[in-house]
């Protein structure tokens, strides 16, 4: 009975989020689509940061690898789109695995520094890639090809993004409620105790890092066809700070928190900018500090008192 009900809830949410796509105008559609990308990225980042407790700064770099990978393979090298998609994802997974192997050995915040260096290197490489990556100007003038004669355009592309978010959330929830998810939370709370209970800490960390980074790559691929433009700054450090802030303010470790945090911080500038101009980032900084100081469970903790007690 519960299974049926939760399936219905999922369907209703997907239909509602998709229906919105047919009702929104041009500018609002653009805002809505990018918000969905942020939500997808925040969900996977939250798994790595909030549930496994690993602070990594490479999430956007992997989104960049996915986006650049698919565009270069499909549009510069002329591969069939399906093959380009699979190959770009495989590249993300492989690269994430290679980065994770040595990085997850690093203690505490040193993982953040190694991944920060990696993501800056990715930016340097794509900025200097010449014709292949379009240098600092990026790549433009390509569009999503039709697959089996179907061209996904207009609101249907937004529906695809809704499905991407749903798929990300579904995958991460499944993992969270499995033995793997419990191992992840055990590592976050006390890695030594987790190891003593028989959790292979390194292995779980590498798996979680590879999986969440590949999901970031998938979101990056979806992003590449929103404006049909990609350029280096999008995948740089500025956005990873914002993503981290979204997860912290939303409530790290909570899927609902990641969604709420992403929606809240993504939409806040539209309200704040007319009032305080560019100062909205200052407001975000204050918000993050206040959240860490006074409400570590974030907005999700405000919404649900029970989760507030569950995660500290």
């Amino acid at each position: 009975m519960r299974g049926v009900r939760s399936t219905l809830v999922w369907l209703a949410a997907i239909v509602a989020a998709s229906a919105l796509a047919f009702w929104l105008g041009g500018y609002a559609t653009d805002v809505y689509r990018k918000m969905l990308i942020w939500v997808a990225l925040a969900l996977s980042y939250n798994f790595l940061f909030g549930i496994v407790g690993q602070v990594a700064f490479s999430h956007f770099a992997f989104a960049g690898v996915g986006a650049y990978g698919v565009v270069i393979l499909a549009h510069k090298l002329g591969m069939p789109f399906g093959a380009a998609l699979v190959l770009a994802l495989a590249l993300c997974a492989l690269l994430a695995f290679i980065v994770a192997l040595p990085s997850t050995r690093l203690e505490g915040f040193y993982l953040a520094l190694a991944t920060l260096a990696f993501s800056q290197l990715v930016i340097v490489v794509i900025s200097e890639g010449g014709d292949l990556t379009g240098g600092t100007g990026g790549i433009a003038n390509y569009r999503l090809p039709s697959v089996f004669g179907y061209a996904i355009r207009g609101p249907w592309y937004t529906v695809l993004l809704v499905l991407l978010v749903a798929f990300t959330l579904w995958t991460l929830r499944r993992l969270d409620y499995s033995a793997f998810g419990r191992a992840c939370r055990a590592i976050r709370d006390n890695a030594v105790a987790a190891a003593a209970m028989g959790v292979d800490v390194r292995r779980v960390k590498v798996q979680a890092f590879t999986l969440t980074s590949t999901l970031a790559g998938l979101a990056g691929i979806a992003y590449a066809y929103i404006d049909n433009v990609i350029n280096p700054p999008v995948f740089g450090l500025e956005n990873i700070f914002l993503l981290l802030f979204m997860v912290i303010v939303g409530g790290s470790g909570s899927h609902v928190g990641a969604i709420v945090g992403a929606v809240f911080l993504y939409l806040a500038p539209f309200v704040l900018e007319p009032i305080v101009g560019h100062g909205f980032l200052l407001v975000f900084g204050v918000l993050v500090v206040l959240t860490i100081l006074f409400r570590p469970s974030g907005l999700a903790g405000l919404l649900n008192r029970r989760t507030a007690r569950g995660t500290t």
Binding site: A117, V124, L237, L293
Partner: protein
Amino acid sequence: MEDLLELVVSATASGCIYALVALAYLLILRPTSVINFAVGEWAATGAFIGVAILTPLIWPRLEGPYWLALLAVPAILGVLGWLVEALTVRPLIRRGASVTSSILALLGVLIIFREGLTLLFGADPLPSPPPLGFKRVAFGPFAGGSQQFLIIGVTFVLFAGAWLFFERTIWGRAFEAVALNRRAAALMGINLRLVTTLAFVSGGMVAGLAGLLMSPLTSAHYMMGLPIAIQGFTALVIGGVGRVEGALLGGLVLAFVEQFGARYLPIPSGLTLGFPFVLLILFLFLRPSGLISPREAR
């Protein structure tokens, strides 16, 4: 040859700036285990305060003397460091939150400082006048801008001071003791709270001076903080997080690799921007203790 010697001077000066930022990290990291990324923004703040004092930016027709900037920057940054510690790190330590919480809160502080600077001083770079003018100076075969020699001189004085502090004073010993074992140090009667506060105050002062010193070469710009924060940290990892000498050595190594690599290696100049990151990755993975190993407990 002249070209080479000039490059040596320029690399040494840049290395000294990295070393000062690395020292600011180290002063905070050693006793508290907190990596404070906001030191880059503190350096930027120092640069902007310097410009505000030295040029008629805030008070028209009033150009303050350099000694005033040299005193005011560390004083103001010391107070700001104390405020940051008192408002963010101290409550978190008191609550027993993890070190990561403090580090993440300081990332919020980083954004607050950077956006605060943008609101106060605008987004355009502000040139900062070099105190000794634009003339070239030569010491034997070594020639360079006067500011470069000023940077080198001040840095060596500051490092000598820091070295004496850690090696010769009781307070330096207390810092070291807290770094080696917080709990044991507290049991020995060392005031942990005071050491933490002093760590942030001194870190702020050193970072501010680094920003003031570098500003004539780079101008004061609101985006200057993050790159210098990354370079300073890379310098610290190269040299080793345990010792004052490590910060200086790491800064010099990083700057020499950057500048000599950019000049003599046959690769596109854009790719040389990646050098610090390659060095950071190599050292984190292959030699996490850095070039100079930390002293063992005695």
